[in-house]
Symmetry: D2
Subunit: 342 residues, 4 copies
């Protein structure tokens, strides 16, 4: 019998991506879709690409009977998410895609997001949702906090190296190239086609991007001491895809070996042969992450490049992967579709 799920915030890109993925899942049934301002509309009116599916009409959250729901995906904006989840049944399994439960420290949360947290107990309960590294905790969790999409890409490129101590922890530079869907369906001039296509720029330069909170937290835990990286995201004229280029000090072969050991059994992480580099073209629409390692001409330095789809592996695919674990399904169910190329 299928697990019954609800998606809160179904009118955004991550909500739509969840519907796309779940529509092919053999053991999950969507029984409620909420979208506050679009309640009463059909999903096909908001996202015509889903018009072939039979889906519940969009509703307000308080119209949902959560006693019928096995698991709830929250694809709501930051801050809204914590207030909504606070009001949900305490026994409901939840995968949250917002930033609200990613940081363990309330003060770090307030530092990066600018407001005090309104659900500190939930914060304490939440498990960080980077599946490959918190698999057992996630399987046992009630509330899982999906990672930032940039944070996911950066961690896939760096975590095993920080853990293994094979790179200099005080000199890590992460230059990210991010597609525009990462900004969501927000109406901003800079996200208009006319202003974005055919060009690129850095943003949040100098270490001000909120996903640094996740990097700081996770890398410091792994290293057992404070670790701060440099991180500069760049906005790309593309809809999907994150390319993370990491510049590290360490031996490339050693780094490659470390990745091979860490990712050898991972169904979604694909390590390229030493000296090859991935492309976001080759992961589009999929849950895969491709990673490449190359030695620099300067001895003792290496470049790591990771590519993933921000809406899939970086967000909704990760969320479904976590939900599979929480529901006792095989982790890969509904997620093995090949990337779309060209």
């Amino acid at each position: 019998m299928a697990h019954k799920i609800a998606i809160l915030g179904a009118s955004g890109y991550t909500g739509a991506e969840l519907v796309r993925l779940i529509s092919q899942h053999p053991a999950i049934e969507i029984v409620a879709l909420s979208a506050d301002r679009k309640a009463g509309l059909e999903m096909a009116q908001v996202f015509p690409h889903l018009r072939h599916l039979i889906l519940p009409t969009l509703c307000k959250i308080d119209e949902i009977d959560f006693s019928q729901i096995d698991l709830c995906f929250c694809a709501l904006p930051h801050k809204t998410s914590q207030d909504v989840i606070l009001a949900l049944p305490k026994t409901l399994k939840i995968v949250d895609l917002s930033a609200d439960f990613r940081l363990r420290s309330l003060s770090e949360y307030e530092k990066w997001y600018g407001n005090p947290h309104s659900a500190p107990d939930l914060q304490a309960e939440a498990v960080y949702g980077l599946t490959e590294f918190y698999r057992d905790d996630i399987a046992a969790a009630r509330l899982v906090a999906g990672t930032g999409c940039n944070a996911a890409a950066g961690q896939f490129a760096l975590r095993p190296l920080v853990s293994a101590g094979v790179i200099d922890l005080d000199d890590i530079i992460l230059d990210l190239k991010c597609a525009v869907s990462g900004a969501g369906r927000s109406l901003k001039e800079g996200l208009l086609h006319a202003e974005l296509s055919e060009g690129y720029n850095a943003y949040a330069v100098g270490g001000t991007h909120r996903h640094l909170g996740e990097f700081d937290q996770e890398f410091s835990i792994l290293a057992g001491r404070p670790v701060q990286i440099q991180f500069t995201p760049h906005l790309m004229p593309a809809n999907r895809g994150i390319l993370a280029t990491a510049y590290v000090k360490g031996d490339a072969q050693n780094i490659h070996n470390t990745f091979a050991a860490a990712y050898g059994d991972e169904p979604f992480i694909d390590l390229l042969p030493l000296g090859e580099s991935p492309s976001t073209h080759h992961v589009r629409g999929s849950n895969f992450c491709h990673i490449g390692v190359t030695a620099d001409r300067i001895k003792g330095r290496a470049i790591i490049v990771a590519a993933l789809d921000n809406l899939t592996k970086g967000s909704s695919g990760q969320a479904l992967q976590n939900a599979n674990l929480m529901l006792g399904e095989d982790e890969t169910t509904g997620l093995m579709m090949a990337p779309l190329f060209p």
Copy 2:
């Protein structure tokens, strides 16, 4: 037990799209992939987006043991295809994606393609592969000829109307907007990103595009007398998607009713409410075709717009749909994935 298939010409876009689709098919197994000039390479070297799959090494056609094969997809260039298929076992089921077996008349073939046909017997045997209209013939066929992608889009927008006689057959204008992958992986200046992005142009203007041969053949059969339409394709700065805008003389409501009757039970053809128009954004990567009908302000005229993905519904998706029929599988197996948006 899975049906064993081969794909000849696996290094082109339609070959790769077949692999993408079949990788999710529960009852089909790929046992051979040919690519003449790339024989010996792994598919992942030619198409890194498929690197997560376990696939046979690319080989030459004559290395394939066809006695093991239940069905063979031919994704070879025009002209090559007929020569290759001529040499294949006469009992092998074949879905051909080239133009070689689309036209019933050898003289029409020669007129549009410029060379005499080298396999007239096969030509006579081949069934035209527009699934929705040749379903029973396809199920019983040994050799099925996939349609042109533009020809598919145009026929979905017009066939029921020609059959029903609800439009003026002597005044049909079809203005197509076609994505660049329709041209295949050919190395031409006009297909370079630098020359194609950010602009558009008509091509094969004046009724010289080869897919007119298919329109002429099919519409004339349906009408029981010669029918010629005007057809102008335009090259778009996009990778996937055909938008067919048809200008016809007829009553819009009548046209809409005709479509509703013709397509009501079709799993892949989706008729929008009268007055709405589809977008290629909403079919990308899927096997769906969306169709809209709108009355013009000038009485007695209507505009029909059809949208599909040229590589999926227009080519490889159609091919798999046909293969499903030929193999006794449900027609929709492996083809119900939702479109990728954004």
Copy 3:
């Protein structure tokens, strides 16, 4: 001595395009730039691509001393424009880029724009700004109404033919492909990069686009009797460029001859050899319009394709061309820059 001009509504795309063009004009000086909501900002803050220019700070309209101004460009939204111009000095030369003064008939205006006109006297005074066809009137005019960008493209493709009576006036179909900047800097979901790139769709299908008011007016004047065309615009994943494909009944050679006679001396209209078709790629950023004529395979039918840049020849370039005439300068001054390719 330079002519002093003001640009009202400088924070939109047509305003910025005027500044781009005028920055290279030897005889025009920008002395005022207004932008209501952005008053107080520098133009470089609103449009960083203009940061190398020394420009007046953005101000509110009522801060401008119009006694110092020789000519005023109004790049304001529809409806706002008529109210603003009503309050300007009656002796001021004005080039209006909005839709407010394009239609001669007040009832047609109200029909297409939905509100009664608030400046009927100005309406009566205004000259329609399609330079190539109203050159003498424009040179003598005080108030010139810039045409719609689609209306310009369509008229370049059809006016000489309607005048000469070489095509069937009751069967003209105009299928337009329009870039996104034509919609201005508006914050709409459909104009976001994520929703617009990589796809295309028709809009205002069925004869509801407002530029039809201009086609009806102008073609009916030329023909001396009511003429209505079919017109379907399509939104393209590109920033600049209109491609107008016109389907007409008439002899292609005759049509080509008619164009050659009409446009032979035009500096900005470039007729391609019979059988060739233009591309928007080749007019980007320029004031040129390329036109091609091809005979259809069906005798007595022809396809005309016209390409121009909607922000330049379709709007701000046309406006400057008109201003040159009104100021006694050579019509081409500041407008002969070559297109940007690739």
Copy 4:
């Protein structure tokens, strides 16, 4: 009286860009255009965006009477260029856009380009064409070697800092994002629209890109000792634009002051206020380079971002700027056009 110039290799992008720029130059006349394989064609057939210009027919190099030419632009492929220039009159002024004369050391040339240099005397004579730093030498030179487009962007972002010693010379990382036109009009699968749009990837990872030869040479000269940087270029889905992100160790305010002193009087280099970052959107089609400096959150580290158009400031614009100096014209003549946005 106009200076007479020839362009060798006019059928490539940099050749076409030279024609675009020179078409607006008041004191330069194009008297010959060569294109070996396209000799006999008109430029408008090869580049229809230039069809409004009256230009010489494309010819072979040996058909040109160089005694009539004041200056010759060579936009030929690497290696070809040195052989061609060797055969040109020794008194002819030449601006070479290829890589052939950029490196002073013959062994470095051979190391990066893989063949021995065939014109070592010319190599010795050539002046490196980064105008802002070799202005006087260029004005006096006979043969000027245009820089690599990536090399130009990287040097604008770093030279004053290397000279002033305000950054750690042993830890410079340059992450470049490059548009596709930088690869020229080459027919490669990876440059097809279908393979390039909507994604991005690093290439020449690990310090293997040839422009490193220029960085090594120039930075080592400035520093008075060997300097090697890390440099990773990334291919972007865009036609024009380089964004250079440099990660350095040094004080951001100090770096900003150093740039202000170095570039204060430069007509084409525009330093943004401290903490702001440029975008390639805002330099497209222009000869400007925008530079931004931001302090990282980690004390003592800074990020520098430079944006320019690879075909203009990075190549043909630079070439014309140099030609102006060599011909005694004002350096900015014909180069002050505003960028094209959107």
